[in-house]
């Protein structure tokens, strides 16, 4: 039983990373209706930005974090402004394919600059394990989870209560009405992408603080996709629950059934949910008044 609890905590902790990346995915989808397949690569490059400023340029982790996050937000803004904005109004599949393309360009770019080998991030999160009774949670994982939780909470507050958050919510419900109320929806698109850049970078840095960063770091975003589908694409609260759940299930399945099952069972669950509830567990079924 203690072992099960231990695995569960580790699973929930790794789910925290999914939550941040999935929030980034959902904010872009809600504001712009774009399915962003470059989410994983934005995680990866954001992490390299942090590595660049912190370790390679030797600016230390506080400056490195500030500049790394800023660069990640700027990258996201450039993607929106340069690649996607000119394509507004084209079929959605075109925009989705562009995000795919952007993803592989970013992966190739990172490979060119930083090479294929693992780069270790500095030890910013405490390594010392945390004991809850006789349950042991690895220190980095626990602190990573706490960090992810704080960021997710701040994001939720911002989204729910700030005027900018209200503007994003209004735009996601009805672009025409939002515009007639004076909301500059193009500014909202940029803001959503900038927020997505921050969230992905944070998620990537936390992921890499345990295992280091390679150009393949972004592939974890496939699991994030499962989280988003499970939650129902548009539900901010649902993504948090689904992220923790998928993280937990992966770890439990991996621990008791082995690694081969680990990359299979969670997707099976998502598939079953999609068949039973096509809009996901917390998704909204959009109803139009005619």
């Amino acid at each position: 039983m203690a072992l099960f609890l231990e695995f569960s905590l580790i699973g929930l902790a790794s789910g925290g990373i999914y939550v941040l990346a999935a929030l980034s995915f959902v904010i872009v989808y809600k504001a712009t209706n774009i399915f962003n397949f470059a989410t994983g690569e934005m995680m990866m490059l954001g992490t390299y930005f942090f590595y660049l400023f912190d370790t390679q340029l030797g600016l230390g982790w506080i400056v490195g974090l500030g500049m790394g996050l800023t660069s990640a937000a700027l990258l996201a803004i450039v993607i929106e402004r340069v690649m996607l904005r000119p394509l507004i109004g084209r079929p959605h599949i075109v925009l989705v394919m562009v995000t795919f393309g952007v993803g592989s360009i970013l992966r190739g770019f990172a490979g060119l600059i930083w090479g294929p080998n693992v780069r270790q991030l500095p030890e910013t999160l405490p390594r010392k394990p945390i004991f809850l009774g006789d349950i042991l949670v690895p220190g980095k994982l626990a602190w990573g989870f706490v960090t992810a939780g704080v960021i997710a909470a701040l994001f939720m507050i911002y989204y729910k209560f700030s005027r900018a958050g209200t503007a994003i919510r209004a735009t996601s419900t009805d672009q025409i009405t939002a515009e007639s109320l004076g909301i500059n929806i193009r500014a909202v698109f940029l803001l959503a992408w900038a927020l997505a850049g921050l969230l992905t970078a944070a998620s990537g840095i936390i992921t890499a603080s345990v295992n280091g960063v390679t150009p393949q770091l972004g592939l974890v975003a496939l699991n994030v996709l499962a989280v988003v589908m499970l939650a129902g694409m548009t539900s901010i609260g649902g993504v948090i629950i689904a992220g923790l759940f998928v993280g937990w299930m992966e770890t439990i399945v991996g621990a008791y059934l082995g690694a081969a099952w680990q990359s299979f069972i969670p997707y099976l669950v998502v598939l079953v949910v999609m068949i039973v509830k096509p809009y996901g567990l917390f998704g909204e079924q959009r109803v139009e008044r005619i």
Binding site: Y158, S162, R163, A164, G165, T166, A167, R169, A170, T173, D174, I176, T177, A178, E179, S180, L181, G182, I183, N184, I185, A187, V188, L191, R289, I290
Partner: protein, 257 residues
């Protein structure tokens, strides 16, 4: 004698091969109620969408208080002093009545979209002032005190229409555009709505441009009526004159054989 606050002149709009508006010109006098009527498909909503900036006109111009509107993007209308409601109520379902109304003042707030997120101090103060203004003016005017903090989703249709009107008014517009304000309302609520619109014009000096099918309400409350048919203005003038106009009678009842 009042001056015209909105002047539409020679506006042409085509969708594919269909000419939705052809050479439409009309003037909206300040502090008056102007109604645009016409059979279904006459181009009333198209005209509204051109003025709002959602449709592009092939030619012609729309001038509001001396400035050209057609060269400006849709989201600047609110800052220019124009607000509108929609034919199908376009409230945001997940939000409360107060949140919906406050969104109407979005363009008036000084703190920009980005700054509002960054420093909460000035933004929060501005938000409080806005809430006070909202409570004192539009909430009271439209009798929404009891629903202020409830979610808009479950509220009756008539109440939702009043919320949409409140949202359009909170920004203190000079021109209020109402897309079918009477549609779907029972007779008693129609009278209330008409009285509230009249009050807004008389007490706050707002100019109203509206579209509707409800002849009784329109003829009773409007200062000027403009009739569209197949994308063309066929008559304009005082309600009584328009009602007596043979071209209007023909458009509504069909030509006599």
């Amino acid at each position: 004698m009042t001056s015209d606050i909105l002047v539409v002149s020679g506006v042409d709009v085509t969708f594919g091969g269909i000419r939705a508006l052809s050479d439409v010109s009309l003037s909206v006098p300040e502090r008056k109620i102007t109604a645009v009527i016409g059979p279904n498909g006459a181009g009333k909503t198209t005209l509204f969408n051109v003025i709002s900036g959602f449709y592009k006109a092939n030619s012609g111009s729309v001038t509001f208080a001396g400035t050209d509107l057609l060269s400006q993007p849709a989201h600047t209308r609110s800052a220019n002093g124009i607000s509108r409601t929609f034919q199908n109520i376009a409230l945001f379902p997940g939000m409360t009545v107060a949140e919906n109304i406050k969104l109407g003042a979005h363009a008036q707030l000084r703190t920009s979209l980005f700054a509002a997120g960054l420093y909460l101090g000035p933004a929060a103060k501005e938000e409080r002032e806005l809430e006070e203004r909202m409570d004192k003016t539009v909430i009271e005017l439209l009798g929404l005190q009891d629903n202020r903090d409830s979610s808009v989703s479950g509220l009756p249709y008539g109440t939702q229409k009043r919320i949409e009107l409140a949202r359009a008014l909170i920004s203190g517009p000079r021109l209020l555009m109402l897309d079918e304000p009477f549609a779907g309302l029972p007779t008693t609520e129609k009278a209330t709505m008409a009285a509230q619109i009249r009050k807004v014009v008389d007490e706050r000096g707002v100019t109203v441009l509206l579209i509707d099918h409800d002849m009784e309400s329109i003829m009773g409350m409007s200062d000027q009526v403009v009739v569209l048919n197949f994308g063309e203005v066929i008559a304009a003038g005082a309600p009584a004159d328009v009602q007596a106009n043979p071209a209007v009678i023909e458009a509504y009842l069909g030509a006599e054989a």
